[in-house]
Symmetry: C2
Subunit: 185 residues, 2 copies
């Protein structure tokens, strides 16, 4: 009987701690967790850096600098791209990795011989990463997509995330996704 | 006995055909196969488009145009990059995928709102793909690397491939490889 009482106290104590922890971290409501995006509650998918390549981009923000970018997809997203499946199926996740663009002087010295005046640029410091997560029910109000923008591992604020879906509406014909699969032959 | 004779004839016929085929296609000497690179005998590794991302680059060739590029690695190469292993172990293969850089007007229209004057560029047509294959014995004379440059699935000529290793000599301190692993945080 004594053992059962101790066990009961131990279990309720742990349960209370878990409940308190859940309340404090907001894990009962993903949208207000410090590790998930506001509005959508999207967290950083483990191992996304190892996903397959969809495409590469360059963005010149003018006075705000230049970026080199890569879009990666999880297996569901890559399969959909390869098979031309639209809309993307639930579970598809697209990651957009953004780096500052830096000049590669070492490359330029070598390339200047065969290709005079060549300017080579590589990925410098990591700026941010964005995710689009497909869940047609959970995110029905935003085309079936949940959005997230992380900088230094922390999600941006609500105001930032309010801009995600409106910017993607013009791409409605491609299930709100701008990026196309970069071809090889 | 009759069956054995028929079997013998069949086997020798097949062996002769295989030998002839090998001679005709040059598969006894990879360097002169129409599907492998001159000098090095490197063929296109199956499934390389699905390899993990090492980094992204942009190259401005001036009047010769602009490119967006991605470097992908097979599992051995990626593991070496992540662990900082130098020299790269035998079996490592690095693929450099080159696309023409094209303006993305759809993106610009949307981005011009929050970021006035933004210029967005994406991967257009596929230009060529290059490979570096590590085999420290087979390619001992060229830093342990075999090189290949394919355009439309066909390897470039001998003169082109004679330029590969000399261009990589300045990167000797990084095992003749220019590309570094693009970081995330």
């Amino acid at each position: 009987m004594k053992r059962i009482a101790v066990l009961f106290i131990a279990v309720t104590t742990v349960a209370s701690l878990v409940a308190f922890s859940a309340q404090a971290s907001g894990s009962g409501d993903e949208a207000i967790s410090p590790n998930s995006s506001p509005i959508y509650g999207v967290t950083v998918p483990p191992g996304y850096r190892d996903w397959q390549l969809i495409a590469v981009k360059q963005l010149d923000f003018g006075v705000m600098g230049e970026q080199l970018r890569a879009q990666l997809g999880n297996d569901i997203a890559i399969k959909a791209y390869k098979q031309g499946t639209l809309p993307f199926p639930d579970g598809a996740i697209i990651a957009a990795l953004h780096w500052s663009r830096v000049s590669a002087e070492d490359n330029n010295k070598v390339l200047d011989g065969p290709f005079p005046g060549t300017q080579s640029f590589v990925a410098g410091s990591f700026v941010n990463v964005q995710f689009m997560v497909k869940d047609s029910k959970k995110y029905a109000a935003t085309g079936g997509w949940g959005f997230a923008d992380f900088k230094d591992g922390k999600p941006g604020d609500k105001a930032l995330h309010e801009t995600c879906f409106p910017c993607h509406i013009p791409a409605k014909d491609h299930d709100y996704v701008y990026t196309r699969y970069a071809p090889v032959n």
